[in-house]
Amino acid sequence: MFTRSCCPTVDSSLLSLLPSLKVVSNGGAGVDHLDVPFITGQGVKVTNTPGAVSGSAADVAMLLLLASARKIVESLKTAEVPTAAVLPERLRGVEVTGSTLGIIGMGEIGYKIAQRSKGFVMTILYHNRTRRSVEEERVGGATFCESLDDLLRRSDFVVIAVGLAPDTRGLISHRELSRMKPGATLVNISRGQVVDHDALVKALQSGTIRAAALDVTHPKPLPRGHPLLGLRSVLITPHIGGNTYAAINRMSQTMLENALAAVTSLPVPNEVKSRRLN
């Protein structure tokens, strides 16, 4: 069975109709929508496609960071109204080059974000359950922050690139947002549930942080009338992290390879055996 973006819902009622099922082959890296222990407990393997979309997702992280910092969406609207003789003060953006980037979650995607930001001469900090090797840190130009608070205090841009798990749910809440700089931007490309949305709304409204750029929300899409939709300082995209033709092709290819290996009892390349985290 191939799954993508939570469809179909793999629950006991569906599995009970598929006695010959050998594998649930998921498109994408995140498997938080699948009850992996339950499915594997039924003797069915679960696979994912971690490498297929990591470059595309890292590109979107950089896009959101730049677009928010330089107020691209607002600027585009201003250009369409050609009566403006002088650029409004509110279009003035914040500098990306030379700023400090804090990456939370230094898995494959987080590391690619570090690689991309190096070219912008950014100071790169990262926080992860485990520290990367010295060589990896040197190549990525990244410095480990054992304390999340330390990263939050020092960063101009905070990018969240963790997987969703019990210990990352609500990771960024009132407390964490209050540790951030007032001029800082929060970028989330992981899952909406990693960020407490109510806390985020309050932080933005009060100026505790400058702006937020979210490729993911919870729910998706946000209900109309949600306060995040009304804030000028928020940029939201509809989970486009893996949305390029090239990424989808790679993902599809990997889904097929995973499934074929599972049904022919060969070693499965991307088996998810337990909770998969960065």
Partner: protein, 332 residues
């Protein structure tokens, strides 16, 4: 040139945003400037420690004109034309904020015995950042995505906009000066294959540092690139550099990004190319004129992003420009 730096030295400016937030506090304490604004003053926050006194020059040009020794130009304003310069007999320097000075008639201004200065280098990074922002914004359809996500009618996300891959794509940089080179440095991190075309070739060391390959012929660059970024100065040679011929050499899946000057591109040819699908999309921080007339066809095309010349528009870079502006003045 001996610029009078005494406390009563006068400077002429156009009332524009940077002044309202710096309030002259960035200038050295030792100087005391009097400023005549060339247009009507809009309300500006008066800083408690501001040492500048602002007057409306146009209300009484005869009174203030002969006192003005330096003119600051920001966002092409005020226009340094005969009609203004003839009322500034003591003018010694036209100090431009920004690196491009194609809007100034330098031979004419020089013939009056007036120097022209600009602010090179300080704008390079912010401009390179905007080139990358526009490239990514166009490729990954951020505007469309944001509209879908925030549209009052959106209840389900049925179809997300599919974008073009940036990682691993081929980038062609036309104009490998300081800004072009910084664009190359930034795109290297995206594993892009980088081609460049320039009047002169960069050193082997420079090329290797960013992994860029030289294309002596612009045609070769245009044929191979997924993204073409224009980062040239506007000169007689670069005016209309990209016209129908060049656009027809580009890939139908390619994106054109322009951060140089609007006149580098023949806009009518660009409109035709975008409408016919000859190229996929364009992202322009510069047009001609700026802003475009309301009914201009570029404004109506779904595959065009236009920003109102925001290449240097950050707090940090604006401050750097003003300090450099002032320093160039002080060195005269």
């Amino acid at each position: 040139m001996n610029l009078d730096r005494s406390p009563s030295a006068w400077f002429c400016v156009h009332q524009s945003p940077p002044w309202s937030f710096t309030a002259f506090n960035d200038f050295p304490r030792s100087s005391r400037l009097r400023v005549a604004a060339c247009t009507r003053l809009v309300s500006t926050p008066e800083s408690g420690s501001s040492r500048a006194e602002k007057r409306d020059f146009l209300r009484d040009p005869q009174l203030y004109g002969e006192k003005i020794q330096a003119m600051f130009v920001w966002d092409f304003k005020p226009a340094a034309e005969a009609s203004l310069l003839s009322s500034l007999p003591s003018l010694k320097v036209v100090a431009n904020g920004g690196v491009g000075i194609d809007h100034l008639d330098v031979p004419y201004i020089s013939s009056l015995g007036v120097k022209v200065t600009n602010t090179p280098n300080v704008v390079d990074e912010a401009t390179a950042d905007i080139a990358m922002a526009l490239l990514l914004a166009s490729a990954r359809k951020v505007v469309e995505g944001h509209q879908i996500a925030t549209d009052p009618k959106t209840t389900h996300i049925m179809q997300c906009p599919m974008g073009e891959e940036v990682s691993g794509a081929t980038l062609g940089i036309v104009g490998m000066g300081n800004i072009g080179y910084k664009i190359a440095q930034r795109s290297k991190g995206f594993d892009m294959r980088i081609l460049y075309h320039n009047r002169s070739r960069r050193s082997v060391e420079d090329e290797q540092a960013v992994g860029a390959s030289y294309c002596q012929k612009i045609d070769d660059l245009l044929k191979q690139s997924d993204f073409v970024v224009l980062a040239v100065n506007l000169t007689p040679e670069t005016t209309g550099l990209i016209s129908q011929r060049e656009l027809s050499l580009m890939r139908s899946t390619a994106t054109l990004v322009n951060i140089s000057r609007g006149l580098v591109v023949e806009q009518d040819a660009l409109v035709t190319a975008l409408r016919s699908g000859k190229i996929r999309a364009a992202a322009l921080d510069v047009t001609h004129p700026e802003p475009l007339p309301r009914d201009h066809p570029l404004l109506g095309l779904p595959n065009v992003l236009i920003t109102p010349h925001v290449g240097t528009n950050t707090y940090t870079t604006t401050r750097k420009m003003m300090r450099r502006w002032y320093k160039m003045l002080w060195l005269q």
